[in-house]
């Protein structure tokens, strides 16, 4: 390398440091600056050897300072590192980690979505004298080095769709998938498909993708990260971050910033620290399996050593995943295990050969392991106040249910049908026989004329008939909104266009159930209304009531807010789970209730949801998710919250694969994480006409994309037209429609297929 290039390189390193630290570390920066200036000043006067020597000293100094600075990195500095244009990108990894590759789906800007990069790549290993080419599907967001068209790695829905497509291809080809997460978040557009809709689809499919998936996180921003981040082994670069939201976003919410303003740098810094977004934090909490050490101040494209270790890491991770589910691999597994703890460079991984394609049984084991892995996560991020003996009792009850459902459904059900057929046959035979035997007697009795008089017939036609209790209650709600007590007239928002007359509040919120009787506009309604009017009266049995939302990250001031929410609503988390009946069909229901912290989902909510899905699966009940409203993942819980996206989606997947019927009913505003995972993945999603459904709210869209969106962007009608939901219901018909859906999409006996 000639001196000019080396000088240039040092200048770049200096700007990089300046960019990362901003106005911090002025002394170190000034030191490097002066030294570099000094060298450039006297460069021309030096001989070649002296120049080289001076440069080497300078480089050593740079290295020394960088290593020193490394120890003082804050969380926000790391955020700046991953966002820097000098940061390695997926193309660098493809060039340096894999032995050969072909990009799929276009190059540079000529691609359906340039921020999603997909490549079929090879890793070549030599075991003894033999050479093995192991194909993998590499999928990841491409940030590039500051190119505009890469959109900063913010993937549009169709980019995620492309990723999903090639995961399926990998599944067909039986090759592992390596995903690289380099995204600040998904691009929040609602097109066909919408952002949330597509991420949900991805998660749902990845929950049962039957090939090994290894994910490497560099920049893991919320939903966009989850779209490709659900993996058997999750690695993370030491300078990356993995978070529920960008620190700026969190600061904007914490500082209640509105309309174009920005949160102060100090608050952003504090949020970044409190959200626990670094690799070390995530490894400690268990959301990341392994941290990959980067060079000081983060990997840049010229850190070839780093690429070598990255290569070793992904190979080892893939090997581990595969060997864990392979039938016969005692020695190789032992070899891998023994290597644990040693530095990755010491390993001679190339020398071990592991076939990465899996047999059918191994695939099933792989998926089971993946589910078990995610199920264990975030167990300590909520409060369970039950005393130990009740927990033990609950455990026994659960095991009891396991055995019972095994006998009832797996053993008995299969024989039940045969038995029923046999009984039917015998019955039919017997009836014919009895007719023959009774024949002579019947002839005699028929000869005597029946004396049903005219008066009797008339009486029958004009007599009082029996009346179902059900029908008598028609038009009467068993819960009336407290707003129905106010004596005031309310103007329908459509009054100007539809000519609706003002509605009297007691009529509107009482009898009309919050629906304008002239145009059908739905005013939002309390969740209690649905609890009382959708399910059979008195049939609600709540379970898991002890699970409580907590503040796992110790987020400042959040304990107080949580306490306020609990006192205000009388709930312990925004999710209540219960068993109930609809027209005598038993169902398990999980709800997200907006008044409790905006219906956000954290560890407690996720746990309750998973438990409910498990319960429905065990009892063979339909599973209904009623979303009164949700604002997304609870940001104050950080990754404890965001991990609920894959966790709950996997619970749903298990339930549906076991033959269950999963129905989602949206009510008011439903946005972000939950929509993009366990709610959005349901094949049957319906919305009450009052719903807004989408990925990001109008403010966030404006903030991140600069687009002004039309006011009806998130309306239920739009969600229907882009295929997210399957129907829009009138609130007053919700019970009837739900009951109808249960009968037609399953039916009392037919339900369990």
């Amino acid at each position: 390398m000639d001196t000019e290039k080396r000088t240039q390189h040092l200048t770049e390193r200096l700007t990089y440091i300046k960019d990362i630290f901003g106005d911090k570390q002025q002394e170190n920066i000034r030191l490097l600056e002066t030294k570099l200036e000094e060298f450039i000043q006297r460069e021309n006067g030096l001989s070649v050897e002296d120049k080289f020597a001076a440069l080497s000293t300078l480089e050593d100094l740079f290295g020394f300072v960088e290593r020193n600075l490394e120890n003082e990195l804050t969380a926000m500095d790391k955020v700046r590192i991953v966002r820097h244009s000098q940061r390695i990108c997926l193309r660098d990894i493809l060039e340096n980690v894999y032995d050969n590759y072909t990009e799929i789906g276009g190059k540079d800007e000529n691609s359906i979505d340039p921020s999603m990069l997909i490549a079929r790549a090879y890793i070549t290993r030599r075991s003894g004298k033999r050479v093995y080419h192991q194909p993998v599907m590499v999928i990841g967001q491409e940030k590039g080095h500051g190119e505009e068209f890469r959109n900063g790695g913010s993937v549009k829905p169709w980019g995620n769709a492309k990723a999903l497509h090639y995961m399926r291809v990998a599944e067909t080809e039986n090759i592992p998938v390596h995903t690289f997460v380099f995204t600040p978040g998904s691009f929040p557009v609602e097109d066909a498909p919408g952002a949330a809709q597509q991420i949900a689809k991805n998660l749902y499919e990845m929950a049962a993708l039957s090939v090994p998936v290894v994910a490497v996180f560099s920049e893991g921003g919320s939903g966009g990260a989850e779209a490709i981040g659900l993996a058997d082994s999750r690695l993370m670069l030491s300078h990356g971050y993995y978070s529920v939201i960008s620190p700026e976003g969190a600061a904007a919410i914490e500082g209640r910033v509105r309309g174009g303003d920005r949160a102060g740098a100090e608050l952003v810094e504090k949020c970044a620290h409190q959200l626990k977004i670094t690799a070390d934090d995530n490894v400690r909490m268990g959301y990341i399996d392994h941290k990959i050490q980067e060079p000081a101040l983060g990997a840049r494209p010229y850190h070839y050593e780093f690429f070598r270790s990255l290569r070793q890491e992904v190979i080892r991770a893939t090997d581990e995943v595969v060997l864990n589910v392979k039938g016969f691999s005692p020695f190789r597994a032992m070899a891998l295990r023994r290597r644990k703890g040693k530095s990755i460079e010491d390993l001679d991984l190339e020398n071990i050969h592991v076939r990465w394609s899996l047999s059918r049984k191994a695939r099933a084991r792989l998926i089971a392991k993946r589910h078990a892995k995610f199920n264990k996560l975030s167990k300590s991020a909520f409060i369970d106040r039950r005393p130990i003996h009740r927990r033990v009792a609950a455990w026994f009850v659960e095991k009891g249910w396991d055995t019972y459902s095994y006998f009832k459904y797996d053993l008995w059900r299969s024989h039940q049908k045969k038995l029923m057929y046999a009984v039917e046959e015998v019955d039919a035979e017997a009836r014919v026989l009895m007719d023959k035997v009774k024949g002579p007697w019947k002839k005699i009795t028929k000869a005597i004329p029946a004396n049903t008089s005219k008066a009797d017939k008339e009486k029958e036609l004009t007599m009082l008939s029996q009346w179902d209790e059900e029908d008598q209650g028609k038009g009467q709600w068993s819960y009336i909104s407290p707003r129905a007590k106010e004596d005031r007239a309310i103007t329908c928002p459509n009054a100007e266009t539809h000519g609706c007359q003002d509605l009297w509040a007691p009529d509107l919120f009482g009898e009309y159930a919050g629906v304008c009787n002239s145009c059908g506009h739905h005013f939002p309604m309390e969740y209690q209304w649905y609890m009382h009017n959708i399910f059979d009266p008195g049939s609600i049995f709540e379970f898991n009531t002890e699970v409580e939302s907590a503040n796992p990250l110790g987020f400042e001031g959040f304990d107080l807010k949580l306490e306020q929410a609990k006192n205000k609503t009388g709930l312990k988390s925004s999710c209540t789970t219960f068993e109930a009946r609809i027209n005598n069909v038993k169902v398990v229901v999980a709800t997200l209730i907006a008044p409790f912290r905006g219906g956000t989902v954290g560890a407690a909510e996720g746990e309750k949801f998973v438990q409910a899905a498990e319960r429905a699966k065990k009892k063979r009940f339909p599973f209904i998710s009623y979303v009164h409203g949700t604002a997304g993942i609870r940001i104050q819980e950080g990754v404890n919250g965001v991990i609920q996206m894959p966790r709950c989606t996997m619970a749903v997947r298990r339930y549906i694969d076991a033959g269950g019927l999963y129905l989602v009913l949206y009510d008011t505003n439903s946005y972000a994480g939950p929509l993009a995972s366990f709610l959005g993945c349901s094949p049957y999603q319906f919305a009450i006409r009052s719903s807004n459904i989408g990925f990001a709210g109008p403010g966030v869209i404006k903030e991140t994309t600069g687009m002004d969106i039309p006011p009806d962007y998130h309306r239920a009608q739009k969600a229907l037209s882009r295929g997210h939901i399957q129907g829009i219901w009138d609130r007053r018909d919700a019970r009837h429609n739900l009951s109808q859906a249960l009968m037609t999409m399953g039916g009392r006996n037919l339900y369990y297929r």
Binding site: K457, E460, T462, L464, S465, D471, D487, Q501, W504, P506
Partner: protein
Amino acid sequence: MQNTNHKVLVANRGEIAIRIMQACQKLGLGFVCVYTAEDSASGHVRMAKEHGGEKSLYRVSSYQDANELLAVADESGATAIHPGYGFFAEDYRFARRVTQRENKLIFIGPSWRIIRELGDKINTKRLARSLEVPTVPGSDRPVYDELEAEKIARQLFEFQEEQGIRRPMVLVKASAGGGGMGIEEVYDIDLFKSVYRRIRSYSLRQFSDEGVLIEQRIKDFNHLEVQIVSDRTGKNPVHFGTRNCSIQSTGLQKRLEIAPGFDPSSINYTFDAQKVLDDITEYSLAMARKVGYDNVGTWEWIVTRDGRPFLMEVNTRIQVENGVSAMISRVNGKAGVDLIAEQIRVGLGEPLGYSQENITFDGVGIEYRLIAENPEMKFTPWVGRIEDFGWDKHDWLQMHSHVPTDVAYDIPTEFDPNLALAIIWGKDLSEVKVHGKEFLNELRLTGQNQGGESLKSNVNFLRTKTDEILKF
């Protein structure tokens, strides 16, 4: 009237508004009148101007805007609302709102629960059957089961055949429907199933409810009514006789009402007419007692040619034809009964003050509804300017009209073109017919519209129908 501190908001127009104001004057009560721009020349506005005093006349944008009416009530200091007939008369939500709002008012009509209960025809039918009051044969609840529906239909056909009806017919209708939507007639049991399924799926699509009602369709009948009055205790309802409203226009709108319902003393019926009249009044009173009916109401009945009464529905309001019943009624032997005054009196909480023994009947009454319309052209309304309108006064005649007789009057197009109600009395059927014809002959009613077409009215129709009254 003991307590005259009330002020009644008259939430209606035209003839009934005038009647209510007159009744208020008679009872010594204040009143408030509302009118819309189209109605500014109407008689009720004139009357309010002349006799109402301060804060008694307000212009509103519509008679059907509850918010505006209640604002007027608050502004004028009204304590009660009389809905008249039509508009809010049978709207239980309005009645409920009036009595439950912060500034509570009295709704002069039955309490809202009763309006709701009897406003639902299926509910009324069930109530009737539970008291063994005869109703039209058929189902009294929505039928959801196809086999059950077919059984009912089969029974109905057999029943009609036994009764000797030449062309039996069954009506299939969507229970959630109304106003003639989702109704079909079936003449043949073999066609029933397909019609039933069609109505059921129509109902499911339109109202998301599969319930279907199956009834016998009665074609040859007389339409009778029983006038009920009860005070707020709801315990001792009385009746003010029966009316026969069988003479109707092609659109099944009443044109001629006669009290009493039948006249067995001068006409021979094929059945025992007196028994039918006694039965329906007794049945009506029984139902009124059962629900605790607490104002003025009308029980409507169908009487078939063989003299079988069936309850049709209950109108929980004062009716247009109340005057004809009042005309033949005597309380404690005195004439000059005013049912609207009675309604306001009991509506404001005063006890009735007499029982059924005190009510007697005398003679026969006819009510003519004078309407600008063309009976030869399917009763199409005529719109234009009335130039001359007048009649000769008689002691057997009562006229109720909002149309001024001293100036020309443009008939507003927004409302039904009812011009006047003429109530005629005679001591028996033959006399009342003579009086009726005399009145119609003396009546002056001419006018012209902008097309130069002269006024069309139903006077000739009424004249020819007078000969046939009370004949089955």
